[in-house]
Symmetry: C2
Subunit: 412 residues, 2 copies
């Protein structure tokens, strides 16, 4: 386990004792006071080396246990989370004038999304903290992930989802036995209700930004990309951005590898937002090193998992990406849908809309010529089976036929 040295406020830099502070910085308040988990990197540098992880023999993110904020390993669930495949597609890379293209398929996680990395950690923290109930607000993936990872434990799960959450995602979490509140309103409304309920009833809150341990799970994607490429990571890594936790996690993961001396510099992390849900991209464009805050806003995109008007991890996302030297780009819904189909047909990886946003962003940057000759990785954050309805608009329908060879011949 990685012994936590401190919880530090991303905005004011004040450090807190993790045994006494749960969620956010008391002086900066919930809109700015996002906490980050820091370890004793000097000690880790002495005790770990790049081959430490392979030596665990674990085909999951638990190979990085030494860098994760876990105190009681008995609570680690049996589910295989992380260590998802990273595929190379040289021909597609050539067409995009890249030196290499890697696709990380996080749709192969236990509940089929990147969120499993965070849920796995949070379910352990809830048990370490002797909580009986864990809760979150979610557009869907975080919820089903939390419900799935809590399933094999004694924890109860209470989930708040916005009313537009796709049916498949809601069904998945009901199957897992979660108590589900479908809240009349947006994700943002559901989020506030979850936080209120957690405080009122003493539940452990998994929601983004409030919970400092989420990003620790999410950083493991970066650790894996680096290790899977033998510590020669690509120039750029792209990922879809909603609340901002995944992009923050990738930045933190690469940053820790630089701190540990195993990478000379971090890959540039590029967050991809839907044009209709681009609050973090806008805040990033306006960022001049001063404090960022969570702001109200509206969002609308086909990519439900990154449809967030009021992104909660904006403080980390903007400051981490700035520190990383990365950037944000936006893509249209049409570009996202087209990316789903192209990715599936060229690679065999079927992504949900939010999961294909990364590839849509890559194509946009490649078309603009800014990535020529570079190596790139895109993270597919969720399985296409999570939302089969969205691409249906652009893929056409099957050909209905009577069972006759003649009829087949006519259609060829």
């Amino acid at each position: 386990m990685g012994e936590i040295a401190t919880l530090r406020c991303v905005t004011c830099g004040v450090e807190y004792d993790p045994t006494r502070t749960e969620y956010t910085c008391p002086s900066c308040g919930p809109r700015r006071g996002t906490l980050e988990v820091l370890y004793d990197y000097d000690r880790l540098r002495r005790t770990l080396h790049p081959s430490s992880f392979a030596e665990t023999g674990l085909p999951s993110m638990w190979r990085y246990e030494a860098l994760l904020p876990i105190e009681d390993r008995r609570f680690i669930q049996p589910l295989r989370v992380g260590w998802t495949p990273l595929y190379a597609f040289p021909e597609l890379a050539r067409e995009l004038r890249l030196a290499a293209l890697h696709v990380k398929d996080d749709g192969q996680n236990p509940t089929a999304s990147y969120k499993d990395r965070a849920s796995s950690i949070v379910v352990i923290k809830a048990q370490e903290k002797r909580k009986g109930v864990v809760t979150c607000a979610s557009t869907g993936n975080a919820a089903s992930s939390l419900a799935g990872f809590a399933a094999s434990t004694a924890l109860e799960t209470v989930i708040f989802v916005p009313e537009r959450a796709p049916e498949a995602k809601v069904a998945q979490l009901l199957v897992y036995g979660a108590r589900v509140f479908l809240v009349r309103g947006s994700y943002d409304v559901a989020y506030d209700l979850a936080a209120e309920a957690a405080t009122a009833f003493g539940w452990y809150n998994r929601s983004a930004a409030v919970n400092p341990y989420l990003v620790e799970g999410k950083k493991t994607g970066a650790l894996e990309i680096a290790e899977q490429l033998a510590w020669n990571p690509p120039h750029v890594v792209l990922v879809g951005v909603g609340d901002g936790s995944v992009v923050s996690g990738l930045c933190k993961g690469f940053d820790e590898l630089v701190r540990l001396g195993w990478l000379e510099h971090a890959p540039r992390v590029i967050g991809v937002q839907a044009e209709g849900s681009a609050a973090i991209a806008r805040a990033s464009a306006a960022y001049r090193g001063r404090a960022v805050a969570i702001e109200d806003g509206e969002a609308r995109t086909v990519a439900d998992s990154i449809c967030v008007g009021k992104p909660r991890d904006i403080v980390k996302a903007v400051t981490y990406v700035a520190r990383n030297g990365g950037e944000f780009v936006t893509v249209s819904d049409a570009e996202i849908l087209d990316a789903i189909v192209t990715l599936a047909r060229r690679t065999g990886v079927f992504a949900e809309p939010a999961g294909a946003a990364s590839f849509a962003g890559l194509r946009k940057l490649a078309a603009a010529g800014t990535l020529e000759g570079k190596t790139a990785a895109v993270v597919v954050s969720g399985n296409g089976l999570k939302d089969v309805a969205s691409p249906r608009a652009i893929i056409g329908a099957p050909i209905v036929v009577e069972p006759s060879l003649k009829e087949i011949e006519r259609h060829l």
Copy 2:
């Protein structure tokens, strides 16, 4: 690669040269003449040992390349197929009065089903045979799997699905770019049409029983269970049965491990059929060592992936399970749906109906007391996201609420 010694007819035992014979035994005909792939086991015994596979370092079924019928490894797709997790659930085992319970989650394959193991092989064989089009009939999983594995190659895919195939499965294969014929009629009608079309247009046919290489991919689940348990496999292994290919694959995999001298005896393989689709179970009960044939029949079950009136791999399934010392059991649709929910809530593994049939069968046998003190493994052959509609009937609905803490309190 495993050099194929011969293709042998399961019914008459006559051997054929794999470079000259494609699908079935000419003298027994398509109803009885299923072929099996045999290797030079003496040579393999000399060149391989149980640690050979770990030494490949491959976290996929390609660790078993030495036992697979591949001639040109350049055609191996990048997708990570197989080497799916095998989880232990000691508490659930105790409740079922088993000594151990393992769950193999094949829903974590690239297209989220066990079928990927077979499609991966068949796509390679099609390329080795210089075919331009690969086809199959499928209730859904085999089709999307074939389309997904062909996506990163130059092969075109033509799929015949029965009209009742779940929408999510059809959408998945349209996204992959397959040409899809929705055939008015049952799976059995679609199957015959695919075979006719393959013959008429020179396509390579992936359909069950016709293609001898399917079972080779499917045997890898058995190899993995044995290796993942350090060559001490459980007493029984259960799997849902539709066409009969997966259960045949498991029998063949364990049988080859016995031939190679790495297992003293094979686990008993127990095929689980839905009561409304139990042709193989019936044929097995009537089996007295004489030739089995493919017969017409009707089927009806909620578990669409094993809803097969005229199972095509019945010849192998009945003879292999008899030789293995295994058996078939049947379960009701209600037992299957209940198994989905119990499995998800106790283990975190969300199975489609056909995938949960194995667990339903286990509970039935455990309740009858026939497995007391035994060790068991159940294969979950497909991800629950493939069919979220079916369990919805028994999981209730989310609670719709206004965003108010008072309203939440009222529901607790």
